[in-house]
């Protein structure tokens, strides 16, 4: 049974992929203000909403108050940080993930918020691979 309510903000490649991977295990809604990105979401049978997620009325209309998990993966770090702070401090969402292109911005992020930093992950992968190849 699907019982976790998950809101994904940003329907780019990352948001779309996460939506597909959670499709069978959670009630997922994807929000993006770009209609073309929403319409390109393939193999996803959850809900979609075209709109600006920085508008709290839109978030409330889409169930932010009952959300168990929010994943903010827009292309704008500043918007992702703002959304994470809104979810943590105004709506008390328990599980929050955000994408950060600039991992240095982690320094201002609340400990409750999980940061996904593609740059750090790539560097980490490179360093581990290099180490493994040396052995």
């Amino acid at each position: 049974m699907k019982n976790a309510n998950t809101i994904i903000i940003g329907a780019g490649r990352m948001g779309g992929s996460i939506a597909r991977s959670l499709n069978d295990v959670a009630n997922v809604i994807v929000i993006d203000k770009r209609r073309d990105k929403i319409s390109k979401l393939q193999d996803f049978s959850g809900f979609v909403e075209v709109g600006d997620a920085t508008d709290l009325q839109l978030l409330e209309k889409n169930g932010i108050k009952e959300a168990d998990c929010v994943i903010a993966v827009t292309d704008d770090d500043n918007i992702n940080i703002f959304l994470a702070d809104v979810c943590a401090n105004i709506y008390d969402v328990k599980e929050i993930y955000i994408k950060l292109k600039d991992s240095r911005k982690k320094a201002i992020i609340d400990k409750r918020i999980n940061c996904i930093c593609p740059f750090d992950l790539s560097l980490d992968f490179f360093e581990k691979s290099k180490e493994a190849n040396r052995v």
């Binding site: 920085t54 770090d77 500043n78 702070d85 600039d102 240095r104 320094a107």
Partner: protein
């Protein structure tokens, strides 16, 4: 006072012009090279090119432990992150964010930004004051709209003309702090009589604002 002006163009230029004097230590940081040059030449002060959301750039600009940090970019969320960075990482004492979207005023405040300024929000409030109150009233709000100072001009047809302040009895709602009469200011007491042509200055609160102004604006039957 150490004041940091982050981003912005004409807004930054205006504020620098106002506060760039011996009393203040101005730090100006801007992401746009052309704007940096313009602000620097126009105001005869160094402007650092850098990103105001980046701790290292702010430190390099000399913004650490500033008394006031003002974020003026056209991107509300950049201003939000810049203010959070200034507050949490470089020890800014007070932060001001400007926003384009009026809805962000309340949200940013709730998230800990000391002061959020939006021209459309202010315009809306002004229009609201003008349309809900008689245009004989001038209003000034303080302390995030908790305290109001209202200036009321007393016309001949008002009920309060010829009464003393004690008779008007507004003590639960606010206080009359001064009366301007024939170009002279006087500090009133309970026995001071209200006359036609007086300009009365009232200090009141958000809750009592409407009631107290109604009392002074009531027309004689």
């Amino acid at each position: 006072m150490k004041i940091v002006i982050a981003d912005g163009f004409h807004e930054a230029d205006y504020l620098i012009g106002l506060f760039n004097n011996r009393k203040n230590d101005m730090v100006v940081i801007n992401e746009d090279e052309d704007i940096c040059r313009y602000l620097s030449v126009n105001n005869d002060l160094p402007v650092v090119r850098g990103r105001c959301t980046r701790q290292s750039d702010l430190i390099e600009a000399g913004a650490e432990n500033c008394d006031l940090f003002v974020a003026l970019s056209e991107d509300d969320y950049k201003n939000y992150v810049a203010c959070r960075t200034a507050k949490l990482l470089i020890g800014a004492k007070k932060c001001i964010a400007t926003v384009i979207n009026p809805k962000n005023v309340a949200i940013f405040k709730q998230l800990g930004i000391d002061l959020v300024v939006c021209s459309t929000y202010l315009l809306g409030q002004r229009i609201h004051d003008l349309t809900t109150l008689e245009n004989m009233v001038n209003m000034l709000s303080l302390e995030d709209d908790k305290i109001f100072i209202a200036e009321i001009r007393i016309g001949a047809d008002l009920e309060v003309v010829g009464k003393t302040l004690a008779q008007v009895n507004i003590s639960d709602l606010g206080s009359v702090s001064s009366i301007t009469r024939d170009g002279k200011a006087l500090i009133p007491n309970g026995q001071t009589m209200i006359e036609e042509g007086d300009k009365i200055l009232i200090v009141t609160t958000e809750e009592n604002k409407k009631e107290i102004i109604d009392i002074f604006q009531r027309k004689r039957r």
